[in-house]
Symmetry: C2
Subunit: 402 residues, 2 copies
């Protein structure tokens, strides 16, 4: 059950992007598992990928292909991650790209492959070969919602979001989709998200804006601390609107892009495996961003904090214990402040006298919980979003391959 | 249910150490929760404590008192950790020491306090004051087993072990007890372990031997990555045997001490919260120990690896994903080897052709599982022990305070 999350219904087309999904039967038998995205010629494409060293075959190919080529197609499958599959996995991913390239008349290096699902099983080529003709026939600009469905694995709901803004009198659309519910602690990007805009943006600026948006969204969430082998976030700018985004007006576009990415990243947490809570965790007055993030992630990953959240138990001692073991150089606990929602727990390192268990219980009973940590040692801050650790998380991941 | 663990029955007394436990009713109402350990005058005492910055009041006092004084008594309670309790917690712990000191005629600084249990609740003095007289009456050298029971919290079974060795024709005894099942990833020591010997050992040598033993035992286990606020490991050498341990014969004593500590640390993992598996994880041929430990702990902490272990699912892709996200500077995945028990999964970074799902399943069905990771980049190695992540872990920690 996702936490306060209903998929958005008003997903807007982006001129220059056409999508089509189908059922290739790679692993799932009763649902769509294949998505092809067509990108208009002349578009700029930016991407950020997992930092997991055991990155999947498709991630290796994406990096190789994007270095010298303008991508024209994305081919995405769910159910099999094509990771840990060695040279054979790379060969098969390349063959899938070649197959799509020959059907569409582009170079194989203009097709970027993406995979998500079980790690360690070879991705077969044949299901793609069989499914491509019909899927290519279905390419349409209006297919974003079905695309969001086709890339799901343990997600219970699709994630998609659109936003429009005005740039120089021209309406610009940004639409994005994402998937992911477990093995989520993105480092650079998340397990498959695709955002497109019809603005015209040079590749270098596009890449730097994508990096910023990723850091404030997908790179600020964790479900279980397990960085995936397949994380990828792509941003495509087709330039089909009259709007040009450059360094003189990048801020307004950046804000809209940040919002789209934040929405999608938060949707992943709301629909995290087994989630019953949506937790916003802020660390402020930190000496630097690295310290703020180290404290935030230590708390957000703690199994004891997460089981207390699941139980709606205001066991704030576990918050202190997690803060105290954070891998940071300096932490003066005599300055620390800690709040649960509006309720202060700790000030100047000491328990707050007005705190009562009843007040803590009231905050913990909520489905959306805010934890605020103040280090009072500087002016850096960060916000991360996380979920709780429930029986359903264990069930989902114990039964994932069965 | 602990994994292949039956408490040892032959726990030997150590001359110069007397113990007594009782029911103070600090939190638990129907069992013993208080332990007093008397250490003979002239003994050497060494200790290592948690590195959690939010360390508990008793840990602060232990550090302060041990700097200048020869400890004569340990007072240990379960049910309340006296952590996150600010100045009031420190004051109460000091008052408890003063009370015991006045009853036994030693200086308050010769009494070391230890607490384990719920964090964030003030430890009351009165239950100690009321229970001390009767507990002190019961001091006896034969009480190690009941002592191991009195310090338990979520442990299902007590942990105790004895070993004898010959030093210069004299029989030396080492006996230790420990507790701990959750909030376990010791960093210097574990949640309360007490080891005593009748050998005569100078304090400086005793401390360095304890540090080595801790690193190879308590500092090499993890249940949930949550380093406790109260970890403490104490080693007492009463010198009541004729044996003198010094730098000329330290190795033989060190080996025996390592064995006692390893037994107790492994017992904690066998009885870890919700454990159904006992996992031995080795990383070898690493460039340095730091790298070996970073890889080992990343795998050992991974919720996805641990749920796969719970499910007996040979989902080795999750092992690769965890190895790949380890926070290490260099990791050449093209050299990596990975085995599950005797079954090779990965060699030179490629899947092993002879591997079958049936072979993997056979290994994962075992209650004791060995995971071996080779980096082939040096000669450093490490072994850590861990448990799985089960429904019972979630249940135990969701209901801990209820």
């Amino acid at each position: 059950m996702a936490v306060n999350y209903t998929p958005a219904s008003n997903i807007l087309a982006v001129e220059g992007i056409r999508l089509s999904s189908g059922a290739a039967g790679v692993r799932y038998k009763d649902r769509e598992d294949l998505l092809v995205v067509e990108i208009a010629e002349g578009s700029s494409v930016a991407g950020v990928f997992t930092q997991n060293r055991f990155c999947a075959a498709p991630v290796l190919l994406c990096r190789e292909f994007m270095a010298d080529n303008a991508p024209r197609y994305l081919v995405i499958n769910s159910g099999n991650a094509n990771a840990g599959t060695g040279q054979a996995g790379l060969d098969n991913a390349r063959e899938i790209c070649e197959e799509l390239a020959s059907l569409t008349g582009v170079a194989p290096e203009q097709v970027l492959p993406f995979s998500t699902g079980v790690i360690g099983e070879l991705l077969p080529v044949e299901p793609f070969r069989a499914a491509f003709p019909e899927v290519l026939n279905g390419l349409d600009a209006g297919n974003w919602s079905s695309a969001a469905n086709a890339i799901m694995t343990t997600d219970t709901l699709p994630k998609a979001f659109s936003k429009q803004l005005d740039i120089g009198g021209n309406t610009v659309t940004i639409t994005g989709i994402a998937k992911g519910a477990g093995m989520i602690e993105p480092n650079m990007a998340t397990m498959l998200a695709y955002v497109a805009t019809d603005a015209q943006i040079e590749p270098e600026l596009l890449q730097s804006m994508l990096k910023q948006a990723a850091d404030l969204s997908f790179n600020s969430i964790t479900v279980d601390g397990d960085t995936s082998t397949n994380d990828a976030l792509m941003l495509m700018a087709t330039g089909k609107s009259q709007a040009v985004v450059d360094t003189t007006n990048a801020t307004v576009f950046q804000e809209a892009l940040d919002e789209v990415c934040r929405y999608l990243a938060q949707a992943i947490i709301r629909d995290a495996e087994g989630a019953t809570k949506f937790v916003t965790l802020t660390v402020d007055t930190a000496p630097d961003l690295e310290t703020a993030r180290a404290v935030a992630y230590t708390v957000a990953r703690s199994p004891l904090v997460k089981t207390a959240l699941f139980a709606s138990d205001p066991n704030w001692g576990r918050l202190l214990a997690a803060i105290g073991r954070s891998p940071v150089k300096e932490l003066d606990i005599s300055k620390l402040s800690l709040s649960l929602g509006e309720t202060a727990l700790i000030k100047d390192g000491e328990p707050v006298a007005t705190y009562t268990e009843a007040k803590g219980q009231q905050e913990m009973d909520k489905a959306e919980i805010t934890i605020s940590i103040g280090l009072h040692a500087g002016d850096a801050s960060t916000t991360v979003w996380t979920s709780d650790l429930s029986h359903d998380y264990v069930t989902i991941n114990a039964e994932y391959r069965s």
